[in-house]
Amino acid sequence: MRVIAFIVVCLTGALLLYGTSEFPDWGDPKSPASLHVSNYYIEKTYEDTHAPNFVTAVVTDYRGFDTMFETAVIFTAGLGCFLLLRDFRGKKEHYYRHIPTGVILHIKDEKKSLTVGKEFGYMDKEWVPPDLINKTVCRILIPFIQIYALYVVAHGDFSPGGGFQGGVIFGSSLILLAISYDLKTLVKRIKERLLGIFAAVGVLIYAGTGALCLVMGGNFLDYGKLAPLFPGYEDHIRTLGMLVVEIGVGIAVMAVMTIIYINIVSEGRHDEGL
């Protein structure tokens, strides 16, 4: 296998190196790649859309149709993980810990429903004592991470970032919650159902904006046609359209990242994790 792999790699590498032989120099501003279409984007974006960040403008407006499917790819990944791993049967064993004394109850029968008082805490099978520093720091940090994520989403047109990055950061703040406390804390706060709805609604906001443009008489995703809905913002209507779309992407990505994490770490049982 290694020999075959080596031969394949050498052949492909040689082909690719051969292809680079006529490339223009690296960083040459006169190369065809930097002249034909890209100059239009640099010179006309601000005029067309009033978005200072060219990349966001290209991503969500000029090539917005690609980005819609990119969001669909993420959505599919989340849905695929759900379909593949989700296991509704639940777990047979449960562990409870008596907090004042540290005595552990191990309940093997799944049918027996047990009501425990406040001094008993639910516990993972592979349990480590909670670290006070970790917990406190994460608890303080998480709101700030989330605010930063919202900032990244909202300022996508002006600075690096956008819906996708913001969504990932928001999702990782939720994952951080699950890691620093335990998975139950996260699952209790954000129900699986809610995450599923968020994922679908996020992509729907994107596709719905496009369809709304269709209804308003433009082509699909032509934000300019939304102007009658936002009187007073005619100049910035395309930026506004981008913002709406970015919010949709952010919601979808946030939900999907969380779904993938929860499903992988608990093998689809949503009970215990890292």
């Binding site: 960040n53 966001t56 990782s172 990242m257």
Partner: protein, 81 residues
């Protein structure tokens, strides 16, 4: 001209890539893979593609590594090669 920085980072990137696929412990692979992604993101910042770098920093070095560690937690660290 940024090429000295560029070439140093690129060397590190290649080093991390080779290490990531040859280390005999999957948790080590996960961390090296995170380092690889982060160095890659540095490289892209040097080249001026800030949006891509930002995405890679949050995705490659962040969430991907978490998925990786989560998967190792549910499978095993053992690897033969």
């Amino acid at each position: 001209m940024h090429w000295p920085i560029d070439i140093i980072v690129l060397t590190f990137v290649i080093f991390c890539a080779i290490a990531a696929i040859s280390v005999k412990d999957l948790l080590g692979t996960a961390i090296l893979f995170g380092a690889y992604s982060f160095l890659m993101c540095l490289l892209w910042t040097v080249m001026g593609a800030v949006d891509v770098a930002f995405t890679e920093a949050s995705v490659g070095a962040g969430v991907s590594t978490v998925f990786f560690v989560a998967a190792i937690f549910r499978t095993s660290r053992r690897t033969k090669d």
